[in-house]
């Protein structure tokens, strides 16, 4: 097939294929550390059933 291709993920994500195994793990681990910045916002986030938020965790105040 010619022409453009549907892309579902970002260029940054798709570039993961070009990393070595060590680079992939290093980037993943670095991303995990960076993502801790949102811990307060997703403290009760839940995506394993009909609940979307752990009912025992107060929702963060809307900004």
């Amino acid at each position: 097939m010619n022409g453009p291709r549907d892309e579902f993920l970002s260029e940054e994500d798709l570039d993961l294929r070009n990393l070595t195994e060590a680079e992939l793990i290093a980037w993943w681990t670095t991303w995990l550390h960076l993502a801790q910045a949102s811990n307060d916002l997703d403290a009760g986030a839940y995506s394993h059933g009909v609940f979307t938020w752990d009912p025992s965790v107060p929702r963060p105040a809307a900004s």
Partner: protein
């Protein structure tokens, strides 16, 4: 730099295959996207596996999150269990299920068999796509890219999220003199003339 989810997988599987890395971490290891802060595993529905996982989690000081008890009776009912602990500056969340949704028992048995024979404790692309058919829209971006990695053309047809890819596969099959499945033929017939791009034979 140590990755907590790879380290945990090694600890869970020390001496025997007890868990398979699934969902978000598996998507990373298939090199598609880094998008989940949590660790997800399929655990063998065996007492030894549950005991080992609990022992490792206890050593890390993990506590339960909202969810079912990590117990064979609950796992066998399709429930999931969730824990959390701190490791330096990381909040480590761990999610477990023994009967992931949308995977028949035979598929699950083959996954364990394949992992044992290959030593690769990461859920393969096709069952991973089935697991990712959730009610979260963002998961379908991953499913669309997973489909492109599937070795079986029938699976690529089943999981594709791209009209371009479906039409391209239809053209390739027609050029090769292969019949289209009923669903695939219906999709391509409906799409031809209605999409804003042309599909040409390769």
């Amino acid at each position: 730099m140590r990755n907590p989810y790879l380290d945990l997988t090694a600890e869970f599987n020390r001496g025997a295959l007890r868990v398979l890395l699934s969902s978000g971490p598996a998507v990373v290891l298939h090199r598609l996207a880094v998008a989940s802060k949590d660790g997800d595993w399929i655990v063998r529905e065996q007492a030894d596996a549950v005991a080992q996982v609990l022992s490792v989690l206890a050593a890390h000081g993990a506590v339960y999150r909202f969810g079912a008890p990590f117990d064979l009776r609950w796992l066998a009912g399709g429930w999931s269990s969730h824990f959390e602990f701190r490791q330096d500056d990381l909040r480590v969340r761990t999610d477990f299920v023994s009967r992931p949704p949308r995977l028949p028992a035979g598929t699950l048995a083959r996954m364990w068999s394949d992992a044992a024979s290959t030593g690769n404790a990461v859920v393969a692309v096709t069952p991973l796509a089935a697991i990712k058919l959730t009610n979260r829209e963002r998961d379908y971006a991953v499913v669309g890219e997973l489909a492109r990695l599937m070795p079986d053309p029938a699976d690529r047809l089943r999981f594709s999220r791209s009209a371009r890819d479906l039409l391209g596969m239809a053209v390739q099959r027609r050029v090769a003199g292969l019949p289209l499945g009923e669903a695939h033929a219906a999709i391509t017939t409906a799409a031809v003339g209605r999409l804003p791009f042309q599909v040409e034979a390769p």
